[in-house]
Symmetry: C3
């Protein structure tokens, strides 16, 4: 699980969000904090969960969970205030597949651990 650092203004789609620290790294995990990208080293069924805190400083927050280049699930808020945006997915990954978050809008709450990205291997292939 990687807690998200303040992402500044990651802006455009397709750019992985950097992480701040990792609370738990599971066996076989390849999660690169600098890019916020998980690269699959053991093929199988994985579960991913994210939760982001929309800051009041942007008009919307749109978060995408991506497998390679494709959006799998997303979360969207147009709240004018701080608000939580959460989502999850069960994904079958082959070795080399990547999973990461992209977003537009601003997140807050990094100091309060209000943004997170977690995942785990459910069944090896």
């Amino acid at each position: 699980m990687g807690e998200r650092g303040a992402p500044g203004d990651p802006g455009a789609d397709g750019i992985g969000l950097p992480g701040k620290h990792t609370a738990t790294l599971l066996p076989g995990t390849s999660f690169e904090l600098e890019t916020g990208t998980f690269t699959c080293s053991v093929s199988g069924t994985f579960v991913f969960m994210f939760s982001m805190n929309k800051s009041s400083s942007s008009s919307s927050l749109y978060v995408q969970l991506r497998k390679n280049d494709d959006v799998v699930v997303s979360g969207y808020s147009r709240a004018s205030h701080y608000e939580q945006v959460s989502g999850s997915a069960v994904l079958f990954l082959q070795q080399g597949d990547t999973v990461y978050l992209t977003m537009s809008g601003n997140v807050g709450g990094a100091a309060n651990h209000a943004t997170s990205f977690s995942g785990f291997l459910l069944y090896p292939e």
Copy 2:
């Protein structure tokens, strides 16, 4: 995991929501996209997660995760804007039990993958 299609106006409780497509189907899964209903074929402990995007076009969104006829967990939003409503449950199911979502209010974001319903078998009985 079934991404939800635009549900039109599913309205009244007790009516399963149709799905649009399935990203991952796990072994032993019986998920009927037409009705959005999961029917348990292997008894055991399951995990379910959902996330729906409330549209600005209804005054509230109320989503229920049901086991057979009972509400297990729900999510509720009275936002006037687009907003994410997420929930999850760990459930023990016997063969033949059904799990599905019902809701009142309108969801948006189907085109953006912002509504999803996922589940997996955690431990067979």
Copy 3:
């Protein structure tokens, strides 16, 4: 999984929230409903998920998932209306570690099963 009862005014941080009932108790689980505290009896990797419904009766809802005394992940909303706040974490726990929720602000929707706290053992050590 423990569905949350109406917590009255649990207020200050560091006080576990009482639960109302438990839908599923997994083998090896030690979850005390009176205090809402999970105590680890089998060391390993666990997954926890929570979802709370912010009531319109408080200006904010701030929910913390804690391991022992530390905040692992949190959820925050400043909605003026009913709103769902969800989060999750993958945690490695040693025997005797505790996991529980704390919060400030008011939750609603207890009658509607809109607040929940779930967890499961993913891999024993």
